[in-house]
Subunit: 233 residues, 2 copies
DNA sequence: CCGGAAACGGATCGCCCGTTCCATTTGTGA
DNA sequence: TCACAAATGGAACGGGCGATCCGTTTCCGG
């Protein structure tokens, strides 16, 4: 299997015409993005536009003038992380040990999900109407295909592992992260540890299994971080 | 390890005082439960009380008179499934092959999650104020501890598998189910297949890995079933 | 320093939510 | 059959949401 050339990662941060705007507009745009990133990171993509504008100290109309739709705001807020996401596949391919590169990649991506609840949602949600963003997702996915292929050729990754399995890992990890983020935030490492063992062919080296999360913390996670808000009376 | 006696499963369906109500009240109660179950099954617990009352063809006030809070309605709607959930551990313990019993149990529970999105949420959400319900969850959990212990003693289940891992499986499976239910509803079997391989000790028999879900269906799952509603403009 | 364009943000619209109120209807025991 | 308690459901309240309108403020080039 020949190592392939990789298309350059397009920097989404370079936006033409941004400099032409008035100074206060640029400042507000930045304030909005900062606020959105902070809220999304801790609360996920369920945050309302109204809440973002409040957090940013900006009128609703201003927010909508800068970002006409939710996907517009989301894709702008997560542009850098999307870059890092694409970059992760390239780092995995640069790794000498392809099997280890695969493992590192999976852990890195899940780490990104765990570190930012919004990004976890982003990775498991297509953003309608944001072509740029979706293109980078595809780019990352294609990179991952290479990572898988390389790892499989070492014989350490089971040969029935398919690219679809990565998406399932993202969905599964998003579920664990969403449930445990506030009470047992390292839980996902344990899940991924089990999964990597499942992905390993007979005799392949695997990292040691992380210690399980605390029992009571997990129960609190069930109680508090309901996937759906259930209020007390 | 001695096999333990098991407390009987309490039937939640037997409710004292139900017969004392007026006939139309009983009818409406049933209508509400039917409607709630139908909506919860397809949409998850995110359904509003207003939507349930509409689906049931009943005034909002009537709904609230029967079930004052969301947890009240939820726990009533899922009483039978909670019985089945508890029962599953006992069936697993009745299995001759403890390792096989463990596998069957995990698959059965995940199947229940996949078959009813509301139940998937229920299993990963404590219902505040519904002591009866929580008691049955604990009962099931204690049964599961036995299932694990028995399976571990066969040497087929890795000895570093802990009871917390089951909860992680539920969170992870809930994530996959929530994302794929409408577009690739069998996806979760693939995930659980990988996980079971991860749980198996060296040389333990494992069921064959289910075929991966269709690529395009998975992408559609990302597009449509956003964990958070993201509208087009 | 000043005028007009650019940007702002409070007010507002329409919608759905959970919750409560109360005039009306319905079941049922005497 | 009838009267009254039980049960109903439409209407109404307060609140948050996405989205838009429009009078006011702010920037910036000349």
């Amino acid at each position: 299997m020949v190592a392939m050339e990789f298309p350059e990662v397009r920097k989404a941060s370079t936006r033409e015409g941004a400099a032409e705007r008035r100074a206060d507009a640029q400042r507000n745009r930045q304030r909005i993005l900062t606020a959105a990133r902070r809220l999304y990171a801790t609360e996920g993509l369920g945050i309302s536009m109204a809440a973002v504008s409040r957090e940013a100290g900006v009128g609703k109309a201003t927010l909508f003038r800068h970002f006409a739709t939710v996907p517009d705001l989301v894709s702008a807020a997560f542009a850098e992380q999307m870059d890092a996401y694409v970059l992760a596949t390239q780092e995995a391919l640069a790794e000498d040990d392809a099997w280890w590169g695969f493992i590192r990649y999976v852990i890195t991506v899940c780490e990104m999900q765990a570190g930012d609840r919004g990004f976890a949602d982003v990775l498991t949600t297509a953003l309608p109407g944001s072509a740029d963003f979706e293109a980078r997702r595809v780019q990352a996915y294609e990179g991952f295909l290479e990572v898988v292929e390389r790892a499989r050729s070492t014989g350490h990754l089971r040969d029935d592992f398919t690219s679809q399995d990565l998406i399932l890992v993202l969905f599964a990890n998003a579920g664990v992260v969403a449930a445990t983020a506030s009470e047992a935030p390292e839980s996902w490492r344990r899940l991924i540890g089990h999964l990597i063992r499942g992905f390993a062919a007979e005799g392949a080296p695997t990292p040691s299994l992380p210690t399980p999360p605390d029992d009571e913390a997990l129960y609190r996670a069930m109680t508090r971080d309901a996937p759906v808000a259930i209020r007390r009376r």
